[in-house]
Amino acid sequence: MSTATLTHAEAHSHHDHHEATGWKKYLWSLDHKIIGLQYLFGSLAFLFVGGGLALLLRWQLAFPSTQVMPDGNVGNPLSLAFINPQFYNALFTMHATVMVFLVVMPVLVGAFGNYLIPLKIGCGDMAFPLINELSFWVWLASGLIMLAGFFVAGGAAAGGWTSYAPLSSVAAYNGTKIGQTLWAAGIFINGLASIMGAFNYITTIVNMRAPGMGFFRMPLAVWALFITAFLLLLAIPVLSAAGAMLILDLNFGTNFFNPAKGGQPLLWQHLFWFFGHPEVYILILPAMGMVSDILSVNSRKPVFGYRAMVYAMIAIGFLGFIVWGHHMFVSGMNLVLSAAFGVSTMVIAVPSAIKTFNWLGTIWGGSIRFNTAMLNALAFVSMFVIGGFSGIFMASTPVNIFVHHTYFIVAHFHYVLFGGSIFAMFAAIYFWYPKMFGRLMNETLGKIHFALTFIFFNLCFFPMHNVGLGGMMRRIADPTAYEHLRALQPINQFITIAAIGLGFSQLLFLYNFFRSLRHGEPAGKNPWEATTLEWTVDSPPGHGNFATTPTVYRGAYEYSVPGHAKDFIMQTEPPDPDLPASALARSRPVPVG
């Protein structure tokens, strides 16, 4: 295994960055921790934008502005008149775009990736701090460009976040040439930010690990972000190419997606989903990695099957590139090809199940600490299982054809994206908040927030399975316009009420987050008694992270090692020569130097 990849010259060259002070520190600092916080605050702000869009579109579904009432009047008395069908389309399009590109990706990859990677592998900063900072500002610009669509003639992009051609590529169809162009430009620029982050992460993880930090001593969160960076690196540029073609088709008369002139609308779908499916794992792998760490710490047990966890993530990452066709079963696909895509998709269930059972193995028999971070991590596992199971439904072509483009799909991806990624985000914030700000978040408020979120989440999204199987299509502005959906309208109203509850529960999180900045209990270096390197330094860590480059002697999960007084051993603790060999067996020595 590779060991020391960093000498002193390198370590010091990174400490030499001039440390900015005051408010400038939060705008221009090249410190990975500040950039991580910039991403965190930026994406939390967008979370509330995206959530607001969701509540508006849910309101329209419950109380449609175009509903024909029994008395013959048009418009439910409770409806919001400004939500017409075109605006409704913009709402769900931008809700998804914001949540994917401006919330889940930047919070998991941008915020926690930046903050945790150098701290967890034991180096002072990322390999390219300037590019790191640039990536944040480019990302922010991309978000503002996409949202600017709401203020142009025709409104924001309204072709769905998948922006299928020719709906997206012909101005007469989408009704908002500028909005759709801004969307595509935003996606392209967002991709630049992702790529800058990705090659930075890869370079950092491969080359800047502390002495003794072999690849197989890295915490799973770092492994997950490492694999995610490869997915970003290889999948994003394909979307960029497609986005460029879309901009050209809309504005310069090219015919890439124009069937009348020999173009191929299906080409968009292939390019989009070649990116889109790895993207799914970009959104969930970092969550998996961080949850693995949180489960292990709070169960006081090593991660069950550490290497299997790593290999499973690599397998998921690889398989993610060869399953994109399962999004296109109803697009007119050769049956043999659809069978192949179906099988390759189901194969992903194997590494996913390995991970799930290993999480269960990790908490099995542990002395579990039910703190807020742990509760959110457990919610991640259980909700991910539900979302994963409904995913297997869709991998099977015949079932897919039945449920395609229904609310069953909406239920599925909210179970993996909210139930998975967002619960993992909450878990990670509660868990690493003390490291970031030096204070603990309030546990009571945290638990209330968790309970409300968990209950409202399920009340909101589980019934979507039912209305989906009942035949309710996605992306319709008024379910009451369809005879067969009128009986489902009470469920839609129920979902909307639950969604409002879910949305307002997040204010509690916001209150807890900002209140704890000043009034939280001081955290100390290692409030959770965890073993990894970030817990060896002050909270928050100083500029340059480590006073001296740490040396790593053991794996990341030395909990409840027999024969030890404490139930955790820091990665930096040298092996005790007096221990019997059996106790040492779990921390196989790896040459240092």
Partner: protein
């Protein structure tokens, strides 16, 4: 994995420097991403072209850009232009070699900048010529769309590379001035090495693009 893929030094000119410094490693990873961008474009091109069926590519009436035997005037222009771009990789390498041996590398870098500029100029001339003949982004179905988009993306990369090479050439001029005044050149070669990786990559992409757009 063997020990230390990358060593400490940012400055690869230091004695005993290892094969990859951090910036070089990062550039190689970044180029993998760039390769996927062109893979997306080329993949799209293949789909669109195959969809036209045999004999319809180029579409009837479109200006002939494919290589003929004997080659047409336009063929010769693009063959020579391709040779110029490929030669620029050699001159760049020559500049780097001279620089590593303590010279300035000015002649190699300067020639590379010149060849790069010629390539872009000829590309621009070809675009104008084809536009004059009636071929543009929105004509001849997907034929014009593909040609101008792919050569445009590549041309933009060449342009960025050319800017970097102008910077490298400027650095070489400074180095040459130090040599004239009897001092040894100082400073790291990171800028030159990174530009070199990028420039060679852009050249290799052109081999693929030339093959599918002009030859096959």
């Amino acid at each position: 994995m063997s020990s230390a893929i990358v060593t400490a030094a940012h400055d690869s000119s230091a004695p005993g420097a290892q094969r990859f410094t951090l910036p070089k490693f990062g550039m190689l990873v970044f180029l993998a991403s760039e390769a996927m961008l062109f893979a997306g474009l080329i993949g799209g091109y293949i789909v669109l072209r195959l969809a036209q069926g045999p004999g319809n590519w180029p579409p009837p009436g479109a200006p002939e850009i494919g290589v003929k035997i004997p080659p047409t005037f336009l063929n010769w222009v693009m063959i020579i232009n391709t040779a110029i771009l490929l030669t620029s990789s050699l001159t760049y390498h020559w500049g780097e070699t001279r620089m590593r041996k303590g010279g300035s590398g000015l002649l190699g870098y300067g020639l590379t900048a010149l060849f790069g500029a010629i390539f872009l100029g000829v590309q621009a001339w070809e675009w104008l010529h084809l536009k004059h003949e009636g071929m543009w982004l929105d004509t001849y179905g997907t034929y014009g769309s593909c040609f101008f988009t792919m050569t445009g993306f590549h041309g933009a990369h060449v342009f960025l590379g050319l800017l970097a090479i102008l910077l490298v050439t400027w650095r070489a001029i400074l180095r040459q001035m130090r040599l004239f005044s009897g001092q040894a050149p100082t400073g790291s070669h990171t800028c030159e090495e990174l530009t070199g990786y990028y420039w060679h990559f852009v050249d290799v992409v052109w081999i693929f693009l030339y093959s599918i757009l002009y030859v096959v």
